[in-house]
Subunit: 191 residues, 2 copies
């Protein structure tokens, strides 16, 4: 072990999820327009504005098997058509690595699936921790009309992110609003 | 990978740190009387009562290199003599594994040291995350006179706990109250 990492702390605001000390990575609609199933609606919105869908922190923890990467994720309230604002979602490059998410504010779901076709959705609410086992792709979805969905996440720092699989194939399921409430539907564009 | 672990969630109360679904592991003064430096004071207290010092959750996550163990830790307010209530503290058995603690309530410190004799203390306050790098023993200390210190922790699930080294040798440093505020002092009983 050559890298020298001293203990450190970092401040997050429990109300906004944001840190004063560090810059968040931001994902706007233009960064993920193809990931919402109503691509026409996404295109319409982009003619006038480019809403911030979510942001999250990368701490720059050394990517070793013994380190833990962590940070907060903030998914903003909103919809593209009837599909809620969400993260891109990803598998871990080291597929056999898990992750835990601890919700501190908001209301939503963690949508998950395996390469073998299993799927699952677990609810986020303040104080709820969701465990994403090894092999499960995961996407956070904010179903509140007003509040950000704020989670604190931790995973093995060498896990890596495979965004490409989801960008190409999509998730098998979507969570959309129907009659004012969230429902899970088959992804009409899943391939 | 043979164990089959489905996604799951678990509820913690953000005000108490406790879960309604799961039983916490409790540590009373009688479980750790020798760990406070004023053992005489600890003995006096134990004649009349056995205060709950801290509790924490173990989720029963499979202890593999790809899983993440997590839970909340609640250290109650109080002192033994002038030494604040604290956790036993431990090294990880797999020494080259890190841990992250995310404070959701209270005020305190994470006291840390390496086998080589380095030490460090990082402050806990709501929203602060403390990173415990590989090789660092760690102990949570509550310096609030009234509030519990509540943290959410995550570490590699196969890390294991070596409590024995600290039970035998102690930490090199202690955090005690002096003139109404916390100060770091040398541990008079460190061996
Ligand atoms: Mn992940
Ligand atoms: Mn630990």
């Amino acid at each position: 072990m050559n890298e020298i990492l001293r203990p450190f702390d970092i401040d997050f605001d429990l109300t906004t999820g944001l840190s004063r000390l560090k810059k968040a990575s931001k994902r706007y609609l233009s960064n993920m327009a193809d990931m919402f199933y109503d691509t026409e609606k996404a295109g319409d919105i982009l003619k006038n504005e480019d809403p911030l869908i979510y942001e999250f922190y990368e701490m720059g923890i050394p990517e070793t098997v013994g380190d833990i990467a962590f940070g907060t994720s903030i998914v903003y309230p909103g919809k593209i058509g009837n599909e809620y604002f969400m993260t891109k979602g990803h598998f871990h490059t080291v597929l056999e690595t898990a992750e835990v998410y601890f919700c501190i504010k908001g209301k939503g779901y963690m949508l998950m699936e395996t390469p073998e076709g299993q799927w699952d959705a677990q609810e986020f609410a303040p104080g709820k921790a969701v465990y994403v086992p090894k092999r499960w792709a995961h996407r956070s979805i904010n179903v509140s009309p007003t509040e950000p969905l704020i989670t604190f996440f931790a995973f093995r720092a060498d896990a890596g992110h495979d965004y490409g699989t989801i960008e190409t194939k999509g998730f098998r399921k979507l969570i959309v609003e129907k009659d004012g409430r969230p429902v899970v539907i088959d992804n009409p564009r899943w391939s």
